[in-house]
């Protein structure tokens, strides 16, 4: 009896796999690269040769000068960070607590509640924009960070509860019971035993929650368009005019906007890798 050779063994198949992967990488990185590249060029060369690298003739930092020169732009960054970090913190805290309750305790309506929360994954929150705006106006939260944080927490919770409850159900029941016999409170069991063991899942949820929030234009535009609460994505729009668009500034603003989110991502992915305490509970 013969076995078909593994595809990785055959050079042709291997090359094909890599070709597909490289193509995908190019598709993903291309637009980002284009933005970053052109943000370092003069306005004229952005239009005349958008695909060429910034060279001696075309190199220009005018976009960055404009962005940094406009002092308010730093505020936009701070706003984005407040909203994103605040939302992630709320999503992780409440999501983890809800997931622990759903996975650990047997009570009437447990399944129904889990299903209800999972429903939020399927229904896009933007469908409720008008009602949300009404609520925000009524509670005088328009043009506050809190308004955005509340909305993003609602948006992020369903997937967080869903993922975390799956992971928490996988944490050894014996470990939690050992804690109970040793006299640990339910809060200590949650915080000291279960949370550290699901840290990789928490990092995953954090990344998934963070990126759509940072990039969102919709809700900042609707509930917090005021100068004091503008986020980076919304702030970059000031350079896009009806008749004239300052492309240097737009591209520079977008390039800068990538940096904080990249840093946050690196932070969480380190957690992802080192969080696994395998082998402690067989």
């Amino acid at each position: 009896m013969t076995f078909p050779a593994s595809p990785m063994r055959m050079p042709l198949a291997r090359a094909a796999v890599h070709a597909v992967l490289l193509l995908y990488t190019a598709l993903c990185l291309g637009p980002v690269l284009l933005v970053v590249m052109n943000s370092f060029k003069t306005r004229a060369s952005i239009f005349s040769a958008p695909l060429s690298l910034p060279g001696p003739g075309s190199f220009d930092l005018v976009g960055y000068m404009t962005v940094i020169g406009q002092g308010v732009f730093l505020n936009y960054f701070v706003n984005s960070l407040i909203v994103t970090v605040g939302s992630i913190a709320a999503v992780l805290l409440f999501g983890a607590m809800a997931a622990f309750a759903l996975s650990e305790y047997r009570f009437r309506g447990n399944r129904a509640l889990g299903l209800f929360l999972a429903l939020g994954i399927m229904v896009p929150i933007r469908l409720g924009t008008v009602a949300i705006l009404d609520m925000m106006v009524a509670s005088r939260l328009v043009n506050t960070h809190l308004a955005l944080i509340l909305i993003y927490t609602a948006q992020g919770l369903p997937i967080a509860v869903f993922i975390l409850s799956e992971f928490m159900a996988g944490v050894s029941k014996d470990l939690k019971d050992a804690g109970r016999i040793d006299g640990l409170s339910e809060y200590t069991i949650f915080a000291r035993l279960v949370l550290p063991l699901v840290r990789p899942a928490i990092a995953t949820v954090a990344v998934f929650t963070m990126i759509p929030i940072w990039n969102d234009l919709w809700f900042p535009l609707i509930v917090a368009p005021g100068e004091a609460t503008k986020t980076v994505t919304l702030g970059a729009q000031v350079f896009i005019g009806q008749f004239v668009t300052n492309w240097n500034a737009v591209l520079a603003a977008l390039s800068l906007a990538i940096l904080p989110v990249l840093l946050l991502y690196l932070m969480f992915s380190r957690q992802l890798i080192r969080g696994i305490t395998a082998g402690a509970v067989k």
């Binding site: 014996d174 019971d177 016999i181 006299g183 035993l193 402690a280 509970v281």
Partner: protein, 333 residues
């Protein structure tokens, strides 16, 4: 100090009755083993004793005090889990001392207790390690150490040897037996392995489908099983059960003969053909196909040569036949 009384303890999950009225007294210092097939309710019963589950009805006393509804940490018990359940982020010493710290004991006193327990279990060299750096056997010793430092009135073991390999299992089994002699503490031990039950227990509680089938000393269960279930569960290889005319002759519905109580000779009460032979060195298992009865197992001391297809006769030793009535209860002479 450490007696345990169960009175009509019942447990239902929805409409399923997992435990149907358990009555049991465990004396101070006794080693009692719950044994039975999976799903018989033995682990549920242990969890109820620990306070991790609450009984639907019935009373539970530890040291004479009613413990219904008392949280696990306040029952004066300690438990050793099958999966060890060590805290992955704490060192061995911290793992063992956590419960005491939780009770508010001073660090110096905790250290004394941990040192005493680790000396007993030869864990001194491992105190600063984390669970991930230990082997399976070491982890189980730490788990036992964590139970010892609390000086509980009752030790609970939930299949503590199931995750260990065969050689380690025998070693740890002997260690637990020694520990029981040294500490003189009351121990309740759950297992599905009848060898563990036979070797460790002062008394065995055989459970099946949520009821206690029989309680007794290991050798009594072997010699005088009260029901067909106990007869089949205790002893390896399992007892041969024979119905029909052979049973009717001694006024029983079923008779049982242990493999080691069958004499193998060229002629005998039952004549059959050897269908398989296992040579273990110290003894030989013969599987004999007897017409109208079926497969009968015989255990012969030493290495005896019988080929597959040989014709042999089997005769039960006198006085070693167990008789059972139509309900599966033993008929006592």
């Amino acid at each position: 100090m450490g007696s345990l009384q169960l009175q009509a303890v019942r447990k239902s999950f929805g409409k399923v009755d997992v435990l149907q009225g358990i009555d049991l007294d465990v004396a101070d210092g006794e080693f009692v083993v719950f044994v039975g097939p999976s799903g018989c309710g033995k682990s549920t019963l242990l969890r109820i004793i620990a306070g991790l589950d609450e009984q639907t009805s019935g009373n539970l006393r530890i040291d004479g005090k009613v413990m219904n509804g008392v949280p696990p940490a306040k029952r004066g018990i300690a438990m050793v889990f099958q999966s060890y359940a060590l805290y992955p982020h704490l060192t061995v010493a911290k793992n063992m001392g956590l419960a005491l710290a939780q009770e508010g004991m001073l660090q110096a006193a905790i250290n004394t207790r941990v040192a005493a327990a680790s000396a007993l279990l030869r864990l001194d060299a491992l105190l600063d390690r984390r669970p991930a750096e230990l082997s399976g056997g070491q982890r189980q010793r730490v788990a036992i150490g964590r139970a010892i430092v609390r000086q509980p009135s009752l030790f609970l073991f939930d299949e503590p040897l199931s995750n260990l390999d065969a050689a380690l299992r025998v070693g740890t089994r002997i260690e637990i037996a020694k520990l029981h002699r040294q500490l003189g503490a009351t121990m309740v031990y759950v297992t599905h392995d009848q060898i563990e039950a036979m070797t460790l227990a002062d008394r065995i509680v055989v459970m099946n489908a949520g009821v206690i089938e029989q309680v007794g000393r290991p050798i009594d269960l072997y010699n005088r099983p009260a029901t067909l279930f106990v007869a089949g569960f205790i002893g390896s290889p399992t007892m041969n059960f024979i119905g029909g005319a052979d049973a009717a002759r001694v006024n029983a519905t079923t008779i049982g003969v242990r493999p080691e109580h069958l004499r193998v000779a060229p002629e005998g009460d039952w004549i059959g053909q050897v269908s398989h032979a296992e040579h273990l060195g110290a003894d030989t298992m013969l599987y004999v196909e007897v017409p109208e009865i079926g497969l009968v197992t015989a255990r012969i001391l030493g290495d005896v040569v019988h080929d597959v297809g040989d014709r042999v006769g089997l005769t039960p030793q006198s006085g070693k036949i167990h008789r059972f009535d139509a309900d599966g209860r033993a008929i006592t002479p």
